[in-house]
Symmetry: C2
Subunit: 581 residues, 2 copies
């Protein structure tokens, strides 16, 4: 007799083959039984306080795991398999609570496997009035909803567990190939059904169809000719360069050609900012962006917030855009996988025939003068100061709001991974995402610190993630911009409106409230509140803050209406448009 394992063990074990060693979630009766098979699967359970936090954490885990595959923006890389994040929730109430996070993974192309523990197959058949259903006998409502925000769905309501295993494997392949979340409906009564253990030795089919050689060659020739001819070319790095794994290629092209390079907000960290051709983030139209005769876009996510209300998007006529499985030249979309094309393109690139004399336009915020010790901490000074505090290999998470608009102007060491939302822009995402990044860092031995630049409004959305960080003893550093409200929104509308205020919490007490140990050598916790420049410098001088161990939460008081100066014209304009309608 062949050795068998329970189906749930198979389901979980497969995740390890995709670089995923922890699964996030919240238990519920429909999931309890399967959870018993986690130890045998050697998958760590990270039980979150709620499912939204779990969903964001799984997304963060997947983003960190993806970048773990290369070690620097200069292109050397580990031979790791493609990676996913994983989420396990219960039917109805659980999966719906996580749905905002999963939809965000979809919008920003993060591969996350969302497994949902559902009623038994018999209950599905009879349309039983089970708890967490809508009481109308239609148990499939949530799966229908999830279908709209996942790229593939595995319905494991099979008579035969082995068939369920095959369905699951196919969907895992889609998750990796399309770099999008997938949905797995796992009925509670199939989880202990046996499948042959040997199935795990059958490699997952993650193969990608080869590009049409002739078309690929033609497109490469076109691109080379365009580069050759361009007088004012520009490279723009964007956020999907992370999941689509373009970072090495993009930096290599920039180095070889010396073409000036910029990034959209979500693409922060993609570019080696020590390159002489680095021109800084493209946060509003510049002379170069409006007059360039060739714009090479990598991993674009062309939302209003990511492109200064679309004002920084080059004309289609001059742009060549690299997405996962398309290359768009002008209006023509070529069904070509970008990554293999870029590898071949690099082989055929020659050093630049010309030097691009475009003036350096990058006004980094690190140049601000150091303020007096007793002065308040302004947005401009803060982000400038933090630029010089960062170290290579840090993973930075920029919460939506002022951290995103202040953080994108920081000068980064290489390599740095930045997690900044390009289109989803959901407040509350980044604290749980930081938990997921820290979990992945531990599982995959990713070097460097996990550093979150958080807002107070954001923190309040998903604050319980701090408890998850503490419970699992994860290493995270949090700088919390405490400006008593939604400062970003204030600039759009309602500068003094009550609806833009948030309650004043005692953030420096957060770690203790959420159960942090007192004076633990094993898991050191640093909590501080600072309101002046001297207090900030005092914290930054603390040797504990520089280390990559334990939890640090620095509550930084800033003015309610302060936003980085560079962002004010854009925010004002956006507010005018809003009020004009």
């Amino acid at each position: 007799m062949a050795t068998t394992i329970p189906l749930a063990q198979y389901i979980f074990s497969r995740l390890r083959q995709l670089n995923c060693y922890s699964i996030h979630g919240v238990p519920g009766d429909y999931t309890l039984r399967a959870l018993d098979f986690l130890p045998a699967s050697k998958i760590r359970w990270i039980g979150n306080a709620n499912e939204l936090c779990a969903g964001y954490a799984a997304d963060g885990y997947a983003r960190a795991a993806a970048v773990a595959r290369f070690t620097t923006a200069t292109g050397s890389r580990k031979a790791l398999p493609p990676s996913v994040g994983a989420l396990y929730t219960t039917y109805g109430v659980g999966e719906l609570s996580a749905i905002n996070a999963v939809a965000g993974s979809y919008a920003e192309s993060t591969p996350v496997v969302h497994i949902v523990g559902t009623p038994s197959r018999k209950q599905w058949q009879t349309g039983a009035c089970v708890h967490h259903s809508l009481s109308d006998g239609n148990l499939g409502v949530y799966a229908e909803m999830e279908r709209r925000i996942t790229c593939a769905q595995a319905d494991l309501r099979c008579d035969d567990a082995q068939e369920a295993a095959s369905i699951y494997d196919r969907v895992l392949g889609q998750c990796v190939r399309q770099s999008k979340p997938v949905y797995v409906n796992m009925p509670s009564d199939i989880v202990s059904s046996p499948v042959p253990a040997a199935l795990l030795d059958r490699p997952l089919d993650l193969s990608i169809p080869a590009n049409d050689a002739a078309e690929e060659d033609k497109v490469i020739s076109t691109i080379l000719a365009r580069i050759q001819a361009a007088e004012r070319p520009l490279i723009i790095a964007d956020g999907l360069s992370y999941p689509f794994d373009f970072i090495a290629e993009l930096n290599k092209i920039a180095r070889v050609t010396s073409i000036p390079i910029m990034c959209y907000s979500a693409g922060k960290g993609v570019v080696d900012e020590s390159l002489p051709s680095w021109r800084g983030p493209l946060t509003g139209p510049t002379e170069l962006s409006t007059t360039s005769d060739l714009a090479l876009l990598f991993g674009p996510l062309l939302s209003d917030t990511n492109t200064a209300a679309w004002s920084t998007i080059p004309d289609a006529g001059v742009s060549i855009s690299f997405a996962l499985d398309t290359v768009t030249i002008g209006d023509r979309i070529h069904k070509i996988r970008s990554k293999p094309l870029l590898e071949k393109l690099i082989d055929r690139l020659s050093s630049p025939q010309r030097s691009y004399s475009t003036p350096k336009q990058h006004t980094t915020n690190e140049s601000a003068r150091s303020p007096s010790p007793s002065s308040a901490i302004s947005q401009d000074n803060f982000w400038a100061r933090m630029s010089s505090w960062l170290k290579p290999h840090d993973t930075l998470l920029l919460a939506n709001g002022t951290p995103l608009i202040g953080g994108r102007d920081m000068r980064l060491p290489t390599p740095t991974q930045v997690i900044a939302s390009g289109i989803w822009c959901s407040i509350g995402q980044m604290l749980p995402a930081a938990q997921g990044v820290a979990a992945a860092s531990r599982d995959l031995a990713i070097p460097g610190r996990t550093i979150l630049f958080e807002g107070d409004g954001s923190f309040q959305v998903t604050c319980q993630s701090l408890s998850d960080i503490i419970w699992y003893r994860l290493d995270v550093t949090i700088f919390l911009v405490n400006n008593a409200g939604y400062a970003y929104e204030r600039w759009l509308n309602g500068m003094d409106a009550e609806y833009n205020d948030v309650p004043g919490w005692r953030y420096a007490d957060a770690a203790r409230f959420f159960g942090a140990p007192d004076n633990s050598a094993e898991y050191p916790v640093l909590s501080r509140k600072v309101a002046t420049w001297a207090e900030l410098e005092d914290v930054l001088a603390d040797e504990q803050i520089a280390s990559d161990r334990g939890l640090k939460l620095i509550d930084i008081v800033m003015e309610t209406d302060d936003v980085p100066s560079a962002s004010r014209p854009g925010l004002k304009r956006a507010g005018e448009i809003l009020r004009a309608s």
Copy 2:
């Protein structure tokens, strides 16, 4: 010229006509402009920390407002209009974060108006790549998802604001008539378009088609005959008696006929428990429930959790079931609105021809002997003690888990509203719901205290609602059962499993952490942790705990594996079924 008002002012003002004076939500750019019109609408904004909390709070508000229409279970009532709760979120990220709560309102028939601020009409037309979209140009994805958990949808993407107002009015009518949530898509650029102010004077059409008189009469005669003939009849009150407004009728029928009366868990509080015919909650099959020859079911919600795995549901052959717009006799469903039928039925009821000698089966938990002062607090003793602490007019919220199974056995004074989930059973629901109840109590001058029996696992899901309670200075009393995990789940599977543990928070510090004022006479805050019987009695003797003002949070330490004794056999059986599959 006729006076005009902005459409958003119209939208919000209509809510006042439905007994709703506060709207819950979280701001976002697509909602900011409309929020400016709240003051003119005389609707209070309750800005929650996150949208899930806002959704649960709107549900709680609606439940409290519905019951505010009658003052006692003995039937005297205020002449208030039908009522709704209201929720306002932003496109995509906001609405999806609330979707679990809205689906819960749907499952448990709570009328909630969910307004979503969405992109401009032009952006909808062009399929613009706006933030919070999936980046694929299909902006309607979320509305499609919401369609599955709302009973009607108002799409306000009209050229003409007056048309938008009419569409909205029709959907409000559906919300009230069907007692289910509705969805309102309000594009951000239509909110200030003018509509005639006089439209607000046009009464909302909330009319309900009259029952077919002949059929109604026939059904009443059948019911009367069945009551007349029954030897072992039984009335079962269930949770939908609250939203369907059956409470007065049901108690009147019970009083006049002396038929023994019980309730399912979700129907707790519906029955006047001082009636001689009160037999207690029906938490498992009893001699009466299994041998009755007539079972009158009011507002049934026949889920597994509400009916001890369906074991307490009477045979169809003996049951007559009253839902919102159907009366089911045996297998025959009559399309009849129950409430007007019940009113006519009462007029034709005669006093009982016989006395129903069924022995009293109610073993209330209030009879337990008082334990020694130094002893730990057991589930059995705790719920018994709390029974005698309650007062008429209290609104009790029972969190899913041990509070629901312990609380349903409490002996209640009359009237008491109980909010206990019959099918949705989402942990984390009840703290935000308590916030909504407290807001409604203030707005509608509902007498009595808002008392939440919470679990620690539940509290962690939506803890930020405590901040909302504090920020808006709402009056809530919280008894938090601190047993370090999901005790209910432990009994189903994994008694000692790590996945059933939750981190230990310092709950008694919660109010301070979340910004409660120190020593405020205006908003008194009481936070205590108790682990022994003497400590519990000490808190209950505090005069502040008995008052209906301010916030009280009592952290009550109990054993991790303790559940009310009465529930153990059922939980064990459920666990066996789970593990057998």
